[in-house]
């Protein structure tokens, strides 16, 4: 269960859990953490940790193999930046590991039942928490929310995304604790989008005209559990506990995000005890065993929304024939790839959605590895072996290139393995890898690639709307504004996606997304390999770490982390 649509039931549950109390999100989450999807009972038992200390104690050093550099939470950011934002800023509401919306700056999640949203879903009324202060002591009010939503519309402001926000009209501040707006049309994913939209201070930013002025980036001011400490570029970012935080916590004096550019060195320093927790990009699967054997530390296998695909460019003639796509998938030894190359560290999947999503379809047909049958299928479809043993049909050679980021060892190994698996079937795959900036530039956007191994997060903050990825109107190569670089096209999928974002009822949405997953599994525009389980680590006496599939960083609840003696 997650976000929105049948918000009535969602809200009911939250209200019930909160029993009318305005319990801050982090505490709610601490309560609900045990029931979080993806945590086995054994893990849950391990989580049943000693009680929290009565006062703040110690610091947490989290090692990251990417460097957080952007601290304006509305501008373009990477997941590693998001980990810092989540501790500096607050949103209207947050998402729990289970996918529930939890009030953060609001007192209640708006729904039809509580009058926060009109029956047609167009009129929104948001009630804000009072007594919240910014890190600099200024009071937080509805003006800040309006300023934030307006800023996202400002044509000069380099907003990361305007998806959803562009639908807002008549944003009106009713009182310091109440704000209303109208939506151009009801857009179900907007609940999720708001969970990823951090509110920024009007009194600091209203006077900023040069949006590339680094002043705010060098000293961001938020309402979150930690306030800005200092940044040493190329080394670390330090956040200090916010005494004025409206919620519970934090339970440590400060957190330090330490940049260690090599994952191997990161692991080594963690094992040696110089680092308390390993964040993005985790511990590589081949090192899990070593970490597991190390006394004093815990290895977490955190589920993520990341699904790794062998994706096809469905716009090129080689992949037009469904028989080819099916045969390729059948001849792909998924088990060996996941077991031997990825050390069994991930969760094989058939869907583009994570298993934790409320719209995940568990009944998709399982992959079968049968090269002989694949060959027969190609024969049957009229693909005959031609020059050099490569199959041909109607002048099209069954030959294509595969591109991924040069230097990504595991993906390069998968490429070489697939190259060898497909060759005997008369399928030729060449490897053409590029540096990341080239791979993900025009080459990717304009669908100049032929096939790729790519990890992608399809949902936004847990909402299963995948219009940007699979809608035929979202193909950038054809001037579409989305992220459907695979050039996937299916009229029925289009219809279902269009319909779903306007639905208030979540059961209906779920049924639609189930159907979309079925069709996509049949069409195979991309071969799903696995859902990534990220290997992360914490020291044994550090408590509170809770993976949350709905955020891109598991530093999301560091205000609840604490040390036991």
């Amino acid at each position: 269960m997650s976000i929105c649509s049948d918000h009535d039931s969602t809200i009911d549950r939250i209200v019930e859990r909160n029993r009318g109390l305005l319990v801050p999100r982090r505490q709610v989450l601490a309560l609900s953490a045990l029931s979080a999807a993806g945590l086995s009972t054994k893990q849950a038992a391990a989580q049943a940790a000693p009680p929290r200390p009565s006062r703040r104690q110690g610091q947490i050093v989290m090692g990251l193999s990417q460097e957080p550099t952007r601290f304006h939470p509305l501008q373009a950011r990477l997941e590693v930046d998001e980990g810092v934002h989540l501790n500096l800023f607050s949103a209207l509401w947050s998402v729990s590991p289970a996918g529930d919306l939890v009030p953060d700056l609001v007192t209640e999640i708006p729904s039809v039942a509580n009058g926060g949203i009109s029956a047609d879903g167009l009129e929104w009324r948001i009630k804000l928490r009072s007594g919240v202060t910014w890190h600099d002591g200024a009071p937080f009010s509805a003006e800040d929310v309006k300023f934030t939503l307006d800023l996202l519309q400002n044509p000069n402001f380099p907003a990361m995304s305007r998806n959803g926000h562009a639908l807002l009209r008549d944003i009106t501040v009713v009182s310091p604790t109440e704000i209303t707006w109208r939506m151009e049309r009801f857009f179900a994913p907007y609940f999720a989008i708001l969970a990823w939209t951090f509110i920024v201070p009007k009194h600091v930013l209203a006077t900023v005209t040069d949006h590339r002025d680094p002043a705010f980036n060098n000293r961001p001011i938020g309402t979150g559990p930690f306030k800005w400490g200092e940044r040493r570029p190329g080394d670390y970012v330090r956040l200090d506990a916010n005494d004025r935080y409206f919620g519970e916590g934090p339970f440590v004096e400060r957190v330090i995000f330490k940049y260690i550019p090599e994952m191997t060195v990161l692991k080594t320093q963690f094992v040696a005890g110089a680092i308390d927790a390993v964040g993005i990009s985790g511990i590589t699967p081949d090192n899990h065993e070593e970490v597991r054997r190390t006394p004093g530390v815990t290895l977490h296998k955190s589920p993520t929304s990341f699904v790794t695909f062998f994706a096809l460019n469905n716009g090129i003639p080689q992949f037009r024939d469904p028989a080819v796509r099916k045969a390729l998938y059948m001849a792909l030894d998924k088990q060996t790839i996941n077991r031997d190359l990825f050390y069994d560290a991930n969760r094989p999947t058939e869907s583009f959605l994570p298993q934790e999503s409320w719209a995940y379809n568990p009944n998709l047909p399982l992959h079968v590895h049968d090269p002989a049958q694949a060959a027969r299928m190609l024969d049957g479809a009229g693909w005959r072996r031609g020059a050099g043993g490569v199959r041909m049909k109607d002048g099209v050679r069954l030959s294509f290139s595969c591109s991924t980021v040069a230097g990504n060892h595991l993906r390069e190994q998968v490429q070489q393995f697939l190259q060898q698996s497909w060759r005997p079937l008369g399928i030729e795959m060449t490897i053409r890898n590029f540096p990341a900036a080239v791979m993900w530039g025009d080459f990717w956007r304009n669908s100049e690639w032929e096939s790729t191994i790519v990890g992608a997060i399809y949902p936004t903050a847990g909402d299963p709307d995948v219009s940007d990825r699979l809608g035929s109107w979202a193909i950038p190569k054809r001037s579409g504004a989305g992220a459907n670089q695979m050039q996937y096209e299916n009229a029925e999928v289009d219809r279902l996606l269009r319909e779903s974002v306007g639905l208030l009822d979540r059961a209906q949405r779920r049924a639609n997304y189930m159907k979309v997953q079925e069709i996509v599994r049949e069409d195979l525009p991309a071969f799903p390999l696995h859902q990534t389980l990220l290997g992360e680590g914490t020291k044994k006496n550090l408590h509170g770490f809770t993976p949350n599939i709905n955020y891109r960083s598991n530093a999301w609840n560091m205000s609840q982390w604490y040390w036991s003696a």
């Binding site: 998806n163 190329g234 550019p261 992220a483």
Partner: protein
């Protein structure tokens, strides 16, 4: 006498300015003409669509013609504005300055090792030419110059960090423990690796410079006058042999920067090399350009200083 010197200086300065202009053009053209850009990193960000990317490109001015972008950037440069990093909006000079310290410390240590060890080895090699020591050093330095630096770095980490656990596997210092001893402990590995090649070079330079001087007439004369060998060595040979080393120092220091890049990568040392690699990766054009110009300035200033020092120190090369 002052006149020709200042004229020489002026000419060199003018040449340097032209060089810098060429460097900036070549660098800027190279960077911008190739595929990929600073927005590539957001290609797979959930919630971000192609429309968002296009809008950001326009807002950042990335969709304008490259000559226009160059003129903008170069115009800023002329008034001292090196631009802002795409990654954190900080002024480029501040970004570079924040990493300079770590790199300088590493380079100075490596140079110190090189000058002391390389110099001594070179002097002994020249004095005891063809001895067993000299031959071993000749082979040793050549092998040192042939080892891929990063591989040597990996071996150092494997032996001293993984197996023996004597040295930390990298990084400048753990957070909150920045005492001098801890810093030195972290410095040993990278300084050793960066110092190896430099030491080999310096010893070769030193040896050949010494040999050049030993064969000069005045040394033979001094020797013939019956001066004790060590006096000849110190007063005549060493003094004159050090002269060309000044030039080499000027030319060598900037190239150390390149070596520091690889070493910093292996040991995750948060210096300029690491910054360059990250900036290339994220296509942070202003910072990459800043670093290219910065290193070009180092090279130019290095050779300028070498020339000046050489001119001052050696009357024979003074311009007429």
């Amino acid at each position: 006498m002052r006149d020709p010197v200042s004229r020489f200086l002026l000419r060199r300065l003018a040449q340097s300015a032209v060089l810098l202009w060429l460097v900036s053009m070549i660098g800027f053209g190279m960077l911008h003409l190739v595929p990929g850009g600073p927005l590539s990193q957001f290609a797979n960000t959930p919630g971000m669509t192609d429309a968002d990317l296009q809008r950001l490109a326009t807002q950042m001015g990335l969709d304008r013609p490259i000559p226009m972008q160059y003129l903008d950037w170069a115009g800023g440069l002329l008034v001292g504005d090196w631009g802002k990093s795409y990654r954190d909006d900080s002024p480029v000079l501040r970004v570079i300055a924040s990493r300079l310290g770590a790199t300088v410390r590493l380079m100075l240590t490596a140079t110190l090792i090189a000058v002391v060890v390389g110099g001594l080895v070179g002097i002994i090699g020249a004095v005891r030419r063809y001895s067993l020591f000299d031959q071993c050093v000749t082979i040793g330095t050549m092998v040192a110059l042939s080892i891929p630096t990063f591989w040597f770095g990996l071996l150092v980490i494997y032996v001293f960090s993984v197996k023996l656990r004597w040295l930390p596997p990298g990084n400048i210092a753990p957070v909150g423990n920045e005492s001098f001893l801890v810093f030195v402990h972290h410095l040993i590995g990278p300084a050793l690796v960066l110092g190896l090649v430099t030491t080999a070079l310096w010893s070769r330079f030193m040896r050949s410079s010494m040999l050049d001087v030993i064969n000069q007439d005045y040394v033979r004369t001094a020797r013939a006058k019956g001066l004790p060998p060590h006096a000849v060595l110190i007063h005549h040979v060493l003094r004159n042999a050090l002269l060309p080393m000044i030039t080499i120092a000027g030319l060598e220091l900037p190239t150390l920067l390149g070596g520091a890049l690889v070493t910093e990568t292996v040991f995750t040392w948060p210096g300029m090399g690491r910054l360059f690699l990250d900036s290339i990766e994220y296509r942070d054009y202003p910072v990459v350009m800043g670093l290219l110009l910065f290193s070009a300035v180092l090279v130019i200033v290095g050779s300028l200083l070498a020339d000046i020092l050489h001119t001052v120190a050696d009357p024979r090369v003074r311009p007429q």
